[in-house]
Assembly symmetry: C2
Homo-oligomer: 388 residues x 2
Amino acid sequence: MPTGHASANEARWRGAVAVLDRLRREPGSTRAALARDLGLASGTATEITARLRELDLVTETAAAASGRGRPTSVLGPHPAGPLVLVAEIRHEDWRVGVAGLDGRVAVLDADRHAHRPAAVLRAVAAVADGAVDRWGRRVRAVSVVVAATVRDGRLVQASTLGWGPVDLTALAPPRGLPLLVGNDATLAGVAEARSGAAAGAGTALHLTVEVGIGGTLVVDGRPVAGATGAGGEFGHLPFGDPALRCPCGARGCWDLEVDGRAVARHLGEPPPEDPRSHLRAALARPGARDAVERITRALGTGTAGLVNALDPEVVTLGGLAGPLRRHARAAFDAAFADGLMAFRRAAPPAVRDAVHGDDGALHGAAAVGLDEVISERGLAAWAADRAG
Amino acid sequence: MPTGHASANEARWRGAVAVLDRLRREPGSTRAALARDLGLASGTATEITARLRELDLVTETAAAASGRGRPTSVLGPHPAGPLVLVAEIRHEDWRVGVAGLDGRVAVLDADRHAHRPAAVLRAVAAVADGAVDRWGRRVRAVSVVVAATVRDGRLVQASTLGWGPVDLTALAPPRGLPLLVGNDATLAGVAEARSGAAAGAGTALHLTVEVGIGGTLVVDGRPVAGATGAGGEFGHLPFGDPALRCPCGARGCWDLEVDGRAVARHLGEPPPEDPRSHLRAALARPGARDAVERITRALGTGTAGLVNALDPEVVTLGGLAGPLRRHARAAFDAAFADGLMAFRRAAPPAVRDAVHGDDGALHGAAAVGLDEVISERGLAAWAADRAG
DNA sequence: CTCTCTATGCTCGCGAGGCGAGTTTATTCG
DNA sequence: CGAATAAACTCGCCTCGCGAGCATAGAGAG
């Protein structure tokens, strides 16, 4: 069922949202193309763009001449337009950046950290506060991405970071800005689905291997986040050996079959300190070839299972999943095909390497932050803000 | 990202959609309650209801007096309002019914069948054609539910029915009515999420055991159907023994661990002709107790894995899954808890028996059919139809 | 039985967005 | 330099939603 009723105060921004959304999807669009694609009457296009210009949301600059007829203009983000603060907290470092309406992220500051939550949050909050001081009300939302399981804006399990539960609401700077918190794999998946290897796909599955397996299903550009935001923990599906207990508390987790811990186990070595670099190293170790092949098969089989269950149009592989598949392509392909339901084999979904690389999560964070800004509610608030 | 632009011609039905949607969610609402809940000005409520009455979409009848003040009226579906044809094709029988705006289904005809696709389709189509002859343009959509894997409106795998690929588009009666085709487990899940054991949950997981396991994830009342509509085939996740080949073509499928085939295997018996009734019988067989417990554990473990991965607010159990859990409650609960990630154990999602019973799929089919009718596009078409 | 009270419905003028026909404008091509 | 062309602008019109003020149907009180 549709989502309910929006007041007329918000509904009046429908046209503006449509235009800004399209602008985000296809940056550098001309106004003429835009009106054509959205089916707007030319008068309507004039009105909407005028309104958006008035509100410092877009600029119009002369387009390169393209033939006969009156030249059109190119729409772009306004230099005084709304901004989204994005922050990323990873295994060993953090970054804070700022994104404009086009989704481009400019990094403001970054540093390594020593795994102490309070100190990291302080450092990140300081940069965020500085940004709010500098840009004031132009900052409309804060979007934080962490390498951890996130639930209701709280970090509940961060094996990678080695953190316990941490409340991130301290990152919401003054002035009651909306705070969005997301998992790194989830937001990297969003980035791939919107402007990466799964662009254009209605349903996309993203899988990433770092320590264990993370991922997300993205439907129409939005992650299927579950009731508490902790969806996408595909690594804790029991695809593996039921005798193995996972640090997450469950058993037989897929996680344990695919990362550096699995390689070490298959080689009869003790569990590695840092499973991620252990796996990366294993890709170059001739002696680890069989072990790498074995975990690649586990990756392929599980991926096929998820394709059976979720029916994505495209699967994107992030982190070390891409390199893994590349190093043992035949093993992956065979396991993948073998794990598919027969009727899917004729036209299985494409499995592609992610293209956003290390910036995927940050780009995804910017994207979901902008969703907030470029929405009927968000634009109504922006307009009210500068009127009052 | 929002779904794009709707023309003004469609946008003008926003208010009407909001009202009809609420009416569907809370049948028997008074007009006053409706205006309050949707935040409509009293004048707006007057206008919208007048418009809806004008179009034969709702009726207003005097409400039971409830105290002081001017009495309000109760809104209900109009007796000359739009209808959705629903058809269900099951293992051994079929049903065709018709639903009004309140989602209530009246069965028009039903019969057993002999597993011959062409004959079944002919019979169903005949009833549907009769309905269209009788109600004409009042019939706005045809929603078909089949006990089979459905892909792009085509039936691609029907182990239950014993059918090969079948194209169901023959069921779209004349006049180009929209045809919706869905899987039975998927639509039963929709019914539970909208008006059943998962009512009110934003993210609900439905699992059902018949022959194998079917199900669906339902987000905001809509099934996560995947790229081709074949999502929700959770039974073909490799939770089981990788040595076992599944009729679907994959191996290690969860399917094989939970239904009548699994019981027979555990008892050292040959595979049953009809796994569904074999399982039902096993529930009453003292000698099958261990086997039933074993498959119930497999159900619990897999359910926990899906909870880890998808993070539903509620899990609903349909078909024989409910009875299975009831017969071996301790086994289910232990396996479920053991399979959860530790941080989920404090507040795991409720696991409830489905309440729609055998009618779930049919109710779900009516619901998704009505989504089509009660939409800006659908209402615009309805209005245009009676104007022209 | 009538008066008062109250929650609700109705009327109507207003403002806003989108539409489309007709007009104007900036370019390129001949 | 003028014709052709594609795009932008103007303006009257439509419909929706809003909200203030008015009308109304019952319940309770006397």
